[in-house]
Homo-oligomer: 349 residues x 2
Amino acid sequence: MSEQARAVTIREVAAAAGVSIGTASKALNGRGKLREETRARVMSAAERLGFRPNTLAQGLLAGRTYTVGLVTCDSFGRFSIPVMLGVEDALGAGQISVFMCDTRDDPIREQHHVERLLARRVEGIIVTGRRTEPRPGIGTGLPVPVVYAMTQSTDESDFSVIPDDLGGGALAVRHLLATGRTRIGHVTGPRRFEAARRRAEGAAGALADAGLPAAGEVLFGEWSEEWGRQGADILLRAQPGVDAIFCGSDQIARGVSETLRERGRRIPDDVALVGFDNWEPLAMGCRPPLTTVDMNLGEIGRVAAGHLLQAIGGAPRASGVLTVPCRLIPRESTRGNPADPAAASGGTP
Amino acid sequence: MSEQARAVTIREVAAAAGVSIGTASKALNGRGKLREETRARVMSAAERLGFRPNTLAQGLLAGRTYTVGLVTCDSFGRFSIPVMLGVEDALGAGQISVFMCDTRDDPIREQHHVERLLARRVEGIIVTGRRTEPRPGIGTGLPVPVVYAMTQSTDESDFSVIPDDLGGGALAVRHLLATGRTRIGHVTGPRRFEAARRRAEGAAGALADAGLPAAGEVLFGEWSEEWGRQGADILLRAQPGVDAIFCGSDQIARGVSETLRERGRRIPDDVALVGFDNWEPLAMGCRPPLTTVDMNLGEIGRVAAGHLLQAIGGAPRASGVLTVPCRLIPRESTRGNPADPAAASGGTP
DNA sequence: ATGAAAGCGCTAACAT
DNA sequence: ATGTTAGCGCTTTCAT
């Protein structure tokens, strides 16, 4: 029906208001000395024509683009999405827009995207990933600052923001200890993942601090429900007296919970359960709802973006790794204390 | 350590090569008539200095920006992410970059983002959402084409691309019929969701085509595992002879599968199970792995982006709703035929 | 108080 | 074959 509307230039606004382009610019930006009447005339013309100043042209002049690139290697997955939201939070306020690109884990594609972003004169780049495995940087000597979020660069002069997996593991175990558990097992992902090792390490540390032995070896396996089912079987056979299990992911915890139920162990009465990730659809779907460790992914994104803004603003370039604390989300799977039936019944005062 | 490198302009390249700016431009773009030697000199200078043509300046001249905006109301969630990947696929090839913005379901924020995108002179906008509920459009008479993907505008003159929920429901039921099931129940999400109603309608249609009655009423409820557990209980009580259950989502299917197991029904031997969404972590974690309907979200994104490109290229503006077919992903939860033990054992020829 | 002109980085048309 | 110039949309001196 209606014709495709065209973008309106300041030239057209000036013409409509019967003033020069320069005057129109001043009126629109509240700069310079103008008669009130002129200013109003320009404003109303701009309003009427639906004028929107061209950010690109403004930037060309200012030598800025007010854009940053977001390169993700997680196919916009589970982990990088909340990070992105945090990034958007921190940048959106500063009128900075975000170009998104996904690498599909392909280094060629990644390089391609970086080139494209630089050609667009982004003022900085954020690289996000899945889990926190170190990865080669996207390049050295780039003309803009780069921050890695939820992934780390193998180059130590780069700057990375990742969750505090060590602290997260400790958080989980201290929570279990606080609810009266003493025989705590750990089922987690593959040993080759730094995240798995760090969480296990944090858990072990918290147990040691309490002067307690772990319930058996750490069971490294896969990041899957299936492994959770198997791992729980192995653990129950080796340590029948286990009264709590800390899992390296919510998916693993789901598998563990299934096996526990099938072996007739009640959660949390007989065995308490803690996951990791706070992946809500999984954690809330668990029976009972799963206590878990949240990595504060949004905060990681905000922190990363904040640092990028600093760097863009000329702050000395940071390097190394910054960790963001995790947060425990208590739910029913750790309610109560087996040594204290009153607490175990919950709720009633 | 190293100083922040600066972006290199064509002026610097020209100076380094000892030619004029115009000559440098020609050399770099392979235009005009130049001596081979000159061209080589410019190229090598550009190479050495790390010159990247400023896309914005090029665009300023061409009157284009080679960018589109992606507005999502799904917090980059489950559904919009694969759509985004499809969009990136289709646009990336055309050297078009994507600005991403998330509305957090806040109309004010949304309007804000749209304004910002228009000020950046994006050449088009894609709006993605969660599920396919109709929603008010982002504005009328906008200066650029808009396409809705995985959501639809209430304005019929807008153009939307959504999955064929009706066909998806039929697909699921026809698959169950093909494996020999005849008493098929349906547990799904809230009746207020068009997607739930359409899937149920498609399922009912396929049953009718086969001349079979449904196993009981459609059970509308919530999009949750918990409802899946309850729904299965209700269904088993009302229709003890049910031999297959089609679920409106994989989450619901997970809940249904739990109840089935607890009631001693084997999957797929006693009851076959089909989900919807193909949310892999859930579907693969199910025991046994879940047959489900995939909405081809990536394809939806590609189709939407393709249409946007057409519109940007000047094609007459499309309107109405385009549906993309769903695809059945067969897994263990529907393996075999209860009336045919040979087929039930699977694999062996 | 308003207008004219330069310039941001680049390309295309025209001049040499 | 190479150089010069105008201009994309805008802001900012500097004249008037």
